[in-house]
Amino acid sequence: MDKIKITIDGKEIFVENGKTVLEVAAENGIEIPNLCYNKNLKIYGACGLCVVEINGAQKLFRACATAAADGMVINTDTPRVKRARKVALELIMSDHVGDCKGPCSLNCPAHTDVQGYLKQIALGNDKKAVEIIKKKIPLPASIGRVCPHPCEANCRRKFVEEPLSIAYLKAFAADNDLASPEPYKPEVAKATGKRVSIIGGGPAGLSAAYYLRLAGHTVTIYDAMPEMGGMLRYGIPEYRLPKSVLAKEIKAIEKLGVLMKNNVSIGKDISFEEIRKNSDAVLIAIGAWKGSSIRCPGEELEGVLSGIDFLREVNLGKRPDIGKNVAVVGGGNTAMDACRTAVRCGAENVYVIYRRTRAEAPAEDAEIEEAIEEGVNFKFLTNPAEIIGENGKVKEIKLQIMELGEPDDSGRRKPVPVEGKFETLEVDTVISAIGQKCSAFGLDSVELTKWGTVAANENNMLTNLEGVFAAGDATNNGASIAVDAIAEANIAAKAIDAYLSGLPLEFFKPYYSEKEVKEKDFSGKEKIQRAVMPVRTPEKRKKNFNSVILGFSEEQARNEAKRCLECGCHDFKDCRLIRYANLQPIVPEKFKGQEHKSFVERKLVTIERDQGKCILCNLCVRTCKEEAQKGILGLVGRGFETVIKPEFESPETVRFCKDCHKCADVCPTGALKILE
């Protein structure tokens, strides 16, 4: 057969005559994106993704329909081609109505595949579930216990009755796996010989260490504290996260070959420069360990503590003398940890001073509830005006009475003082839990933000220094929840791996299709109550630091996991559309307009079809006609209103469908689903 010479992306190749550019490219390992091409079907040319530039020609060519000709010089990835492809994808996405992932996953900072692991838990495959979770969170037993779970806040089951108990299910699966004879152990890639130093062994540092180690790098964590775990170890009280659980998960990471060095302070025991010199890349994950001051008269008195200092002392095994009457200032989770820890340290009257109401408190409501059960006295709508001392020691706290005024920028109603109204409490200790700050001691060459945190590029977590990255509470916006730190660590790990492999660091936020839903969309769903986590009684638990929660029973957990509505697309992993959509950043929102409605119909024997996800590539119609020789599917209407109709109200048509599933097999998106 004739051979011709063509050049694709600078590569000279000899190919048989009579092939299309798309075929030739595919044979030579160059993927040209396409959504309406199939080698068994006639050329259609609708999607417009497979465009390429051909030297000497003015316009772009569709590779699927262009015959390779001798001497042709083809470029598949020029700026012009990318631009054309980008707009094509933005247009398709602007009329692609569906959820790539469930809101649980999208709202998880680490984008954990929640639906995926819930399904495994429902099926009883805890190890498989852990494998899925650990792609994003290497400390599931710990995070499952402490995470304020934004996933649950967004779970659509709330439109039916209540969200799933996602976090505890994660902990359930992880506990089971840890207790099993052969817990999940991931593969470590072949050693790269590259050395990464991580400063700080908290959730960010441990996560980055885990993923970088799996990538085959030599990883060393330096930590100033006696044990690894950071705030999970020294900030979260034992009754919420038993240290034995955390230790097991850290041990599992260590077993992968991560080197862990404790009691090493940067700038004291070793200089930052020395660490840089000894490493190919460095990650700063030092956390935020400095409490914010109350900023009222008397804050310098003996008996005024910061929440995190207090919690650290207790977690180090000490029992600070806090007296009988303790005031904790703040409404967040640290305040809850502090007040409940104070109860467990023997305080008789514990107050929480918070300037807004319970509804505005950032602490989880369950935490507030449990604190109340344990006898904590909440003084909502009060603010410290002055701490009054006697002989340099705290004696009283004077509270300004507040009321709620107009909403502020965050949408919460702003507390304003009620003039002249005060209240005074007799207290021995005042614990301030109103925020924490980062201390970048010993990192002089690193650029900081105006808040004193390490400045890092959000897309790749790179700092101002070559090869130095940062993640967790110590970066940019400062302290947040543990899973946020892990999410940043994941980005940093990916970036460091790319950096060490000499790849570009041009990361961008992935695009996912999301659909708007309303409560009435769920009106037909059967109501199944959320599993209630068994807990120890308040009387028992306030006496010691034993875990408050007792864990789900097997039956409870499996049934709870089954409540998942499976909002995410069944085809996400194989979807060509979303894969192409993430080859470069796209912004379909700019074209937001009329959309095809999303609804599921079942008109063929074992196929379910979602109109919203259909991109009119017509592959199903053509396959049914050309391959299956049936012609049951067809296009109806014209222009934007065109839809694919599986049949129209004739039982005979359904009889003609021989269930070959060829239509669903060729669908490039999740519009057609084969029912199991």
């Binding site: 012609g631 599917l633 067809g634 296009l635 209407g637 014209r638 109709k645 004739s650 048509t653």
Partner: protein, 160 residues
Amino acid sequence: MNIPQSNFKPLEPVLTEYAKIPGSLITILQKAQEIYGYLPKDVIYHIAEKVGTTPAEVMGVATFYSQFRLAPIGKYLIMACQGTACHVNGSERVSAAVSEYLGIESGETTEDGIFTLENVACLGCCSLAPVIMINGEAFGNLTPEKAVSILENLREKEEA
């Protein structure tokens, strides 16, 4: 839904003449619409069977072309021209007035089954713009008021 079955008899000569000539589907549908006034669903199935294709294929063609109707039309078919010359001369206000007077949008038929309104591409009477055509008769140089008075006359005629 209980649709009385269409009488296929008047269609037989059409099918005899065209069914076996390749590429005649549009012609057959046009003739069928002349007979039935629109394309009833059972007629579509019948044509598919006789032509030797699938109902999906016929439905695809019937819904692609604006000439074909899947529901019966009113006694008076009003075609409101949306051509360029008509646009420049204010056809939008004429269409809006017609639509408001009849209480229907383009593509709809009044409840009494008397008027069907269709916005159409150029009728080719550009120098009479703006134009509407009622059952084939063109009315040109319209204003919203003139258009409505034409319809009022027709309605009076029907009510008499």
